[in-house]
Symmetry: D2
Subunit: 299 residues, 4 copies
C-alpha cells in the first residue's frame, strides 16, 4: 500500500475521434477535459471503459496518455486505465504511464481464457513490481469476463505493495460493505456503477468514477458535495434527477451512449471504434429527452 | 460464399515459447507442425485458442503466420485464427494472412462492451470486404464473451460474400442440427468442442478442429476415418478412449493443458503467456495419467 | 438396482380437464391413453411435466393414477411421475403408486430452498426404502430448480437399491456419454429433451420419453424403430420432419403447448391449471402450421 | 390498493416440530412468537421461507395459521405467507387466512413451468378478487424460480385492487430505487434480504422482514429504531455487528440455519422438513461463534 488518495469525482473523458476515423481529435480531447475540470473533477481518468481504452492500439494509447497529461497540466491528478489480456502488455502500459507523469493506474484483469485467482494475483503482483504508481484494483465483471470477490480484492490490497484502492463496478452494494468490513474501513473504495452512487456514498465510498461529469454539467459533483455536507435530502433530489440518465448510459453501453450524448451537446467526439455501432436514431431520441430533462432541472 | 472447403481434422498447433520467455521457439513450432501433419492433419490452424492467438502482440502474430506458412510448405491448407476487439485490427490481420498465402481465416468476435448482432454482422462484413480469403465464422461463447445463435451464423454465411463455413464450439449439439436444418445441409460446419466430436460427426460436421492431434498421436484422425468409413463401433471405441483426455483439456483451459501435455511428451513448448499460470503439479499428475492411459490403448 | 427395464417410447399423457375447470375429464384421459398405445407406446407415464403432476392436489393425483391403471389395463407398463418438495409427500405418492399396481416411478427432486447433493441423495434413499418400485431418477434442471450431474446420478443408481434408470432432460448430450462411460454401459438411460432425441439414441439411450406420441401420430415410434433397425437415413428424415414441432413444444412450455395441440386435433383436453395461461392466438396459429406440416409428411 | 400499512420489523417465526417428526410443536411456536414480540416485532409473519410455508401440507398450514392467530392474540398484526404453484391453492389459502382473522397476506409466485408476466399478473388478480386482505407482493427469485422486475411489481400495485405493498428480496438495492422512483414514493416496500438492510432503509424501505428478531435479541429492532431516529452512526455500528450473522443465515439456507440457531439458544424447534438436512457439525460450530459474537456486543 502507499499514500496516494483521491476523494470526490473521478471523471472519465471519452477518446474523441475525427468523424468516421480512428484518428484522435486532440482539440476536442482538450475541450472534454476542460469541461470536466470546470465541472468539478477531482481527478481525470482516461482510458477506462468510456475512454475505449481496450480498443486503442499502442500508439493511440500512448498518445492519449501524453495529451491528457499535457492538457490537464497539473490541475488535478490523473489515473490511467489499463485493461490488458497479457501481463506483459499491462506492465508496458504501467511503465509508460509512470514515465509520462501520471499519478496512479486503474487496473482491471481482462480475460480470454478464464482467469483463476492465483493468475489474477500474479498479474497485479507483476505490475506492482514493475511500476511505482499506486494501483486501483478495478472490478467490472460485465465487461472484463472476470469477477473478483471483495475478499480477494482486499487480500490484494493487503499483500501487494502498490495496490491501494478498489473500484467496484459490479453494482452489488453488498460488496462495498464487505470491503469496509474486511478492511476495517482502511481501504479507500470507489463506485464505478453510476446508478447506485448514492448507496455507495452511504456505504462509505470515497468517490464516484463517472463519465457523466461535464456531460450533465456539475450535477454529479453537486450530488457528491451535498451528501458530504450532510444535506441528505438535497443529495436524494439530485440523485433522482440524474438517475434515468445514468441508467440509460450504463444499460446501453457506456462508450457509445456517452459519445452520442456529447454530440447532442455539440461537442464532436466522433463514434466509438467499430465493431461498436453508433446509437440508433430511436435511442438517440430517448437520450436527447433524458438529457434535456436532466439538465432542465439543474438551476 | 466461395468454394474453399476442408474436411477431416483441422489441427491446432500451440505457439511454443522458449522457457520463461515470450520469444517464439521456431524450431519447436516446426516440430509441432510436422507431428500434426504426420498424424494426419487435413489442415493446420495456428493462432486459435490453443495457439494463444489473442495473447500475442502484432509482431509475434505476424511471425507465427510467416513461420507456419514456411513450415507447412504447401503440404496442407492453412487457416489463420483471428479474434480481435476492433474491426480495424481484424482487417489488418486478415490482409496479412492473405498476403502471406494462407488459405482461409477463422474469425471470432471478441468483446469488451457486449456486442449486438448488427455490430457482429458489420465486423464480418467489413473483414469480408477487405480480404478475399474464405471466412470460417467461429462461435466460442465461453472465451469470446459473445454467443452467436445458429440462425445468425447461417444468415451471415448467406449474406456476407466470403463467410462460407461455421465452427461451433458451444458444445450444444442442437446448434448443429439447426445449422443443418436452416441451411438445408448446404453450409459446411466444424466441431470445436472436443468432447462432443462423435455427436458432431453424427450430426453432419465436416470436420473436427482440435489441438489433440499429434499430442495423442493419430487417434483423432483414426476416430474421424472410422466414422466416415461406416465403422461405427470402432469409432465409438476410439471416442471413449480419448474422451477423458479431451474433457480434461477443455475443462482446464486449452492453452495451458495442451502445453503441459506437450512437455509431458518431451516437446518443449514452454508456458502460456502470463497471467496464465502453468498447470499445478497435482493437475500435471492427473494429465500424465490420462495421457498414458489414452496412448496405451493406441495399438 | 432391480430388473425392470423399458425400451422404446415412454408416452406422456396430459391430464385433461373439463373446460375452464379443474375437474379431470376421465373419458378424454382414456381417449388420450388409447391414442398413445395405438401409436406404439412402450410405456405410459402420467403425471410428468406434460401431465401437470406438480400442479395437482392429492385427490386429483390419486384419481389420475387409478384411472390410468384402469384404462391402460395391462397393455403396457406404467411409470408414475413424482415431483415433490418434501420427502414425506414423495414417499406417500410412491406408496400409492405401488399399491395401485404401477410398474415404476419417475422421481425428480423439486426445490424451494436449493438442495445439496446429500439432501437429494437422502430424498431418493428414503423413497427407495419405502417402496419396492423401480425408480427412474429424473434430471430436469429447467423446471426443478436443481441440476444433478451425471456422476451423481450414476452414484445414486449404484448405491440406492431401487434407483435403476436415469432420465436426462438437460438437453446436454454430453451427460449421456458420461452416464454411459461412468457406468460402463450398464445403466439404462432415457432421453427427456425431445429435440435431441436422435443424438440421444446414437449416444445409447434406451428410450425416448415424450408427450408427442399420438399427437403427431406414430411418428416418434417410427423414428425410434428406424434407428433401431439401422435405417439411419430414414431415422434422419423422420427426425427432421418432427424437429420444428418438437422444438416448439419444448421452448414454449410443455403442458400448455401440448394441450393446445390436442385441441387442434379435436381432442378436448381443456386448459393447463392457472396460473398457466392458454397459448396466445398468435402462437396457436404457429402451432397449427407446425402440426399440419409435420402430419402432412406422415404418409 | 387499500390502507393497511406496516412499519418496522416484520418478524418471521419458524415452524417448530417435535424432534425427528413433522408434528408441529405448539408450545414452542408460542415461545418463539412471544420472544419475537417481546423483542419488538411490529408484525408477525408465519409461513414464509424461514417458516417452511412451501413444505407444509394443508392441515399443517391451517394449523399454523390458527395457532399463530391464537398466540399473537391481537398484540401485533399478522401477515400470512403464501407460495403456491397453482392459483387455486393460493386462493384457498388466502381465504383461509382471511377467515382466520389475519391482517394481510404476503404472496410470492412459485414456478415449475416458468411463468410469464401475464400469468403472474393473473395469479395476483385472481387472489385479489377472492379475498379482501391486503397483499404484499413478494419477489424472491432465488427460491421461487421467478424474478419480477420493479416495474412489473409497481404495475401490479397500481392495477390490482388489494396488492398494496412490495417485499423485495433480490438483494439488488437498485430495485428499491426503481420502486420509489416509479411510484413517486407512494408504495410502501420492505426489505427481505437481511444483509442489505441498512441500504434498504436508506433507500426508503418501510420495514425489514427478518427471521433474526428474537434469535439475536432485539438487535434488528434497535438497528431500525436508530436509523429512524437519525442516529446514523449507531445504526451503522448495529448493522456491522449483525452483518456476519445475517450473511451466514442467508447464504446457507434460511430455514435450516435459523432452526439450528434456535437450538443453540436452547429453544427446541426441531429440524427443517426432509429432504432439507440439518446443518453439519462444522457449520454449527461456525454459527455458534457468530451467534456468540453478535450477542456479546449487545449490551
Amino acid at each position: 500500500m502507499n499514500n496516494f488518495k483521491i476523494e470526490g469525482i473521478v471523471a472519465y473523458p471519452v477518446t474523441p475521434f475525427f468523424e468516421n476515423s480512428s484518428q484522435i481529435n486532440d482539440e476536442v480531447l482538450k475541450q472534454v477535459i476542460d469541461l470536466q475540470i470546470s465541472s468539478g473533477a477531482n481527478a481525470i481518468a482516461p482510458l477506462g471503459s468510456a475512454g475505449e481504452g481496450a480498443y486503442l492500439d499502442d500508439m493511440q494509447w500512448n498518445h492519449l496518455v501524453d495529451k491528457t497529461l499535457e492538457y490537464v497540466a497539473g490541475r488535478v491528478p490523473i489515473i490511467i486505465g489499463i485493461a490488458e489480456l497479457t501481463t506483459r502488455a499491462a506492465v508496458r502500459k504501467a511503465q509508460y504511464a509512470q514515465a509520462a507523469g501520471a499519478h496512479a493506474i486503474m487496473v482491471s484483469p481482462f480475460s480470454y481464457q478464464k482467469l483463476t485467482e492465483p493468475e489474477i494475483f500474479q498479474h497485479y503482483q507483476t505490475i506492482s513490481n514493475s511500476s511505482a504508481l499506486p494501483i486501483m484494483a478495478y472490478n467490472n465483471p460485465s465487461v472484463c469476463g472476470v469477477d473478483m470477490s471483495s475478499q480477494f480484492l482486499v487480500e490484494m490490497v493487503t499483500q501487494i505493495e502498490h495496490v491501494s484502492m478498489i473500484k467496484e463496478s459490479s453494482g452489488d452494494i453488498h460488496r462495498m460493505h464487505d470491503i469496509e468490513y474486511l478492511s476495517n474501513g482502511t481501504i479507500p473504495f470507489y463506485n464505478g456503477c453510476n446508478y447506485i452512487v448514492l448507496d455507495a456514498l452511504k456505504a462509505g465510498a470515497q468517490g464516484w468514477c463517472t463519465a457523466a461529469l461535464g456531460l450533465i454539467d456539475d450535477l454529479p459533483k453537486r450530488l457528491f458535495n451535498s451528501y458530504r455536507q450532510g444535506l441528505f435530502e438535497q443529495a436524494e433530489t439530485l440523485f433522482k434527477q440524474q438517475l434515468p440518465f445514468l441508467k440509460f448510459i450504463v444499460k446501453n453501453g457506456l462508450a457509445v451512449t456517452v459519445k452520442a450524448a456529447y454530440e447532442l451537446r455539440n461537442i464532436s467526439v466522433g463514434y466509438a471504434q467499430p465493431p461498436l455501432l453508433p446509437l440508433t436514431e430511436d435511442m438517440q431520441k430517448q437520450l436527447k429527452d433524458l438529457l434535456s430533462m436532466t439538465l432542465l432541472t439543474n438551476t
